[in-house]
Amino acid sequence: MKVKERPLSSAAVHILLALAESDLHGYGIMQAVKRQSGGTYTLGPGTLYANLARLLAGGLVGERERQLKGGEVRREYHLSASGEQALRLEIRRLRQVVAIAGRRLGQPNEKGA
């Protein structure tokens, strides 16, 4: 399966990273993104579900329904194999960007950046 050809949006990266830890429902993804970014990045529901729709359509994220104790059904999202591959590619790309930035701007703590 061809994974992707262009960089993922930062929201998509955060969502995939959250799902790399565990399967989550929508609210869980929002909380996980907030936690993993140290509170600096907050996903709104519009951005979250627009990105989830794209990721589902691209096969990077899968979904399944889980029955709760009270008989309630909750939809959970999980990272697919191609999603993991796409995330690894994106992280590699970001590392390259950081490496170039490091060469051109110096290390972040050298100039107080």
């Binding site: 994974v3 992707k4 050809e5 609210y27 709104g44 519009g46 729709a53 794209r54 691209g58 990077l60």
Partner: protein, 133 residues
């Protein structure tokens, strides 16, 4: 009706403006998510959802693809342009072209000197700039 119920009702109305396929698929989840939000988070929820709705209407293909069965695979980085979108574009382009033609025919007469353009008038009455020292 208290404040929270009022906000939820307004949000439900906002969700109704999503494209139908997206609404059927995600609106219930979005409403559930919003119902567990704090009052301080509501400005973000409304603002973010409002922008997302506009974006969703502008690019409905991926959102629609999300509700298609598994064989409706759409890879990221590819663009699916269905015939309906082409038709919408054609209609929009025609309307814009006709509107432009109409306004041009009303206000612009090429080859007539009765109404010289504003640029010519301002050039004739322009005060010369003082010489540089």
């Amino acid at each position: 009706m208290n404040m929270r119920q009022c906000l939820l009702f307004s949000y439900q109305l906002l969700l109704a403006t999503y494209p139908p396929a997206f609404r059927r698929r995600f609106a219930a989840e979005m409403l559930e998510l919003a119902s567990s939000a704090e009052l301080s988070e509501w400005p973000l929820i409304f603002g973010d959802t409002g922008l997302a709705i506009v974006r969703c209407w502008l690019q409905t293909a991926p959102a629609d693809a999300a509700v298609e069965p598994a064989h409706g695979y759409l890879a990221l980085g590819t663009s699916a342009l269905p015939a309906s979108r082409l038709l919408q574009g054609l209609v929009l382009a025609t309307v814009i072209s006709l509107s432009l033609c109409y306004f041009v025919s009303l206000g612009y007469r090429p080859g007539t000197d009765q109404n010289p353009s504003v640029c010519v008038q301002s050039a004739q009455t322009a005060v010369p700039a003082p010489p540089l020292r």
